[in-house]
């Protein structure tokens, strides 16, 4: 459900009313502009002894509408105790070792919901190590929390508090159908990441990353831009990592440092051969529809759909974003409830029988089945 109020008290009251038993957990997604007093919210929920997890996002999706304040509230049957992973800025963070019920019911593929600080380092490491432990025994669905301006803030909360450089991983006793797509088109490539560190590309093709990136795009469109002009068009482009038989894994550039480093949402490994991708509104909207279609389990009614839309898509599509949401909604009309979701700083999903990935500029649709 979506509530317009951003007041901690109102949210806490709704959450308390929503939760029926100890085996349920509340998911609380807050719009960044609501400035909810999260500490107060945590205090109130802890007082009511409610199990919960949540994050602060650039925007909230409810049906076909986008909100930047208020809260999306949802409850899930909890399979196991959620795990909070802190200190992701340090490579020696501890990966939770899930056991027991996750593997008990082999006929059912449960869901691991992951909310993560989208601006932290080592996101891919966490996902890789988690996938290494659990493999395809579960489906993964998640979103990068944070700000629409790509500023790192405390954005992940649990009964333990609110954190940055953190993730919360919640095993949910429901199956999920997943669809992942972005609809970006190949423009040029390869561009080789010849020097990088964590999220920053320092060199592309052995040259200053920004200058080279700008040059490749200018060559491709046949125009020369000033830095100012280029910054206005940067959202039209993204970097793509090749993955056979699938769309490129997209990485958006969230910032350019003074030294000309391209700062990405997500790690950028050295020696990666990147492609330059370009956004086209129609393709993107079609991709969203495709993702929604992929998430449908034939002949089964989903209880609920969850949409993770990259905030970059929202910015790029502008008014066209309504059309993207419409295209998703049109595919999942038979759901018991309206689809809900977030505008995210990075999207998380596993492919069917494939690996777990952290995407940018992507839409992930997850459909929850009992």
């Amino acid at each position: 459900m979506y509530i317009e109020s951003s007041s901690a008290e109102d949210i806490a009251t709704k959450v308390t009313d929503m939760i029926d038993s100890d085996s349920e957990i509340a998911m609380i997604l807050l719009g960044e502009e609501g400035n909810t007093d999260v500490h107060e919210l945590i205090r109130k929920l802890n007082k009511s002894n409610i199990q919960f997890f949540g994050g602060i996002f650039p925007g909230l999706i409810y049906g076909t509408g986008v909100h930047h304040s208020g809260a999306i509230l949802q409850k899930f049957p909890l399979l196991e105790k959620p795990e909070l992973v802190k200190g992701l800025d340090d490579q020696n963070f501890k990966v939770p070792d899930f056991e027991g019920r996750l593997f008990e019911d082999t006929d059912k593929k449960h869901t691991l919901m992951i909310l993560i600080d989208g601006m932290t380092a080592n996101i891919t490491q966490l996902l890789h190590r988690t996938f290494n432990n659990l493999g395809n025994s579960v489906n993964y669905l998640g979103a990068g929390a944070g700000s629409s301006h790509y500023e790192q803030k405390q954005c992940i909360f649990t009964p333990e508090g609110i954190f940055k450089d953190a993730a919360v991983i919640v095993p949910i006793e429901m199956e999920t159908g997943l669809g992942v797509s972005h609809g970006l088109e190949f423009v040029s490539g390869p561009a080789l990441v010849t020097r990088s560190g964590k999220n920053a590309i320092q060199e592309l093709n052995w040259k200053n990353a920004y200058q080279e990136y700008k040059g490749i795009i200018e060559d491709n469109i046949g125009k020369k831009w000033s830095d100012k002009e280029f910054s206005e068009h940067m959202d039209d482009f993204a970097l793509g990592i090749y993955c056979k038989d699938k769309e490129y894994i997209a990485r958006v550039i969230t910032n350019v440092s003074e030294k000309g480093e391209l700062i990405c949402a997500g790690e950028m490994p050295e020696n990666a051969a990147l492609s330059i991708l370009r956004s086209k509104k129609d393709n993107m909207i079609a991709a969203a529809s495709k993702a929604a279609q992929e998430a449908i389990y034939p002949e089964r009614n989903a209880r609920y759909s969850f949409i993770v839309e990259c905030v970059g898509r929202y910015k790029f599509l502008g008014d066209g974003f309504d059309a993207e949401l419409d295209s998703i909604n049109s595919k999942i009309t038979e759901d018991e409830a309206k689809p809900e979701g977030v505008l995210s700083v990075g999207e998380i999903s596993s492919y069917i029988d494939g690996i777990l990935e952290f995407f940018n500029f992507t839409v992930v649709v997850g459909r929850f089945y009992e």
Binding site: N133, G135, S137, I241, N271, A273, I355
Partner: protein, 558 residues
Amino acid sequence: MNDHYQEIVKDISLLYELSLSIGTSLDLKENCDAFLNKLLARENFAFASVWIKNKYLTGEHNHKATLVYANPEYRACENTIDISSPAFTLIKDKEPVMIGNEDDHFEMLIAEKDINKGIYFIFPLGDIGFLKVYSAFEKKTGDDIILSKLINVVSKFTVSVEACLYHERALREIEERRRIENELRISEKRFKDMAELLPEMIYECDLRGDFTYINKSGLQMLGFSKEDLHRGLNISELIPDSEKGKFRSRFTELLAAKELPSMEYELLTKHGSMISVIMSSTVMIKGREVTGIRGIALDITEKKRMQDSLLDAKMIAVANRARNDFFANMSHELRTPLNSIIGFSNVLEDRTYGELNEEQARYVDYIHSSGQKLLELINDLLSLSMMETQDIEIKPEYFDIIRAVVEVSEALKPLLLRRNVHMEVITHTEIGTIHADRSKFKQIVYNLINCILNKSEERLDMDLELDMVSNMLKVSIKQKQNIFSSDDIEKITGILSENNKGSSGENDALELEMMLTKRFVELHDGSIWFESCGEGSCFSFILPADTKVENESQLILV
């Protein structure tokens, strides 16, 4: 760019990325992770594993292979397979194979969770093992190009895995060497600690004779300090000139024979004194080279001194025995004629064979009394001799004390009368029996009275007092004249004191008597003392009324 060239560029990009991800670490898991993570992500594979034959992994020739890497680990089920298993037989020609779920071998290759369809790609890693990659997608035409596309990059990966294995082996060997070195250090420390605790000298020296180690006892024995050792100390500094020849030849013999029986040497200490040692040495060998000598030296200086002392003592004992034999023989030889002299002079004194004139009577009396004194002296000498050889035996019995005292008094009666001595026996308490050597008891009393009589020609009043105090018999012999000179008093007090343990060498009759008396008292666990107070003096001794004798043999003092 048309699609065809775009595909080629994609492949080149893939191979570029894969090639540069190989050999990023010498850690086997990290190396596999860097390469296979990328391969799985780019080629959309669902699982990869690396199997290495145990003979390359652990050195075990057991025809098994071990799973060294799996991604994701979640899927891995088996950790060990036989090298005759299908995965190995399929690549026996060292060529990669692709097995789809419709192929006969597919089922036999499954060693992972949740796999029932898809494709296995198996790449040989030289002879050391294989790389197994799984795609969850159905096999389709043209998939086998993956084998050709990846064969060269997997070949490079093989080299990197081999390098990791060599590195791991080297690390294991280094670790093992470190462990052994550490154990050696611990062992060496243990032995050095023990060596430091040993009372003997433990040493090591190089072939030049420079000491490289001497334990604490060794340094103490030689008078050197650790600093002296650190400054440099050569074995030749310890060898006196007289021993150098012997030492040099032994050193040469030792180097040839590696080990020699112990031998005694004289060594010079830092301070110039000589010590005697028994040295046992062996050679130190490193590899095949003799590097020095180590050994143990036992200081026998004190032992040798004691041996010498023992020899002296033995000689003294022999001399004493000869003297005692002499005394015994002489006593017998002297007493026989002396008894004749005393007996016949007694007969003459008794006028058995006629009257004597006054002068004859006086001479006979001299002969008799001198003979008597000489006999007493001989008896004392004999007793003292026996005492010194500690061969005096006491034979305790129960006897009446008063009666024994009366018997002594009776024996002395002629002398007491002649000397005009009045002796009174006084009892302070009821005096009964005592368990002691009757003869020795009588002799103690006799000697003390005799000692007084011999010191005075004057009339004397003497009291012999008997008292029983706390089951101890106290006997005191008192007289009230000043008959003892200061020398006598000092002499008697000295002899009877507790610290006096025996003869000082030259003794007169008084001393012999006192020493004998004291010994008799002590043999009864009693004590004796002498008091002089200007006018008069008193001999006192106490004896336990019931001498504790557990068995007869204990009465013979050894």
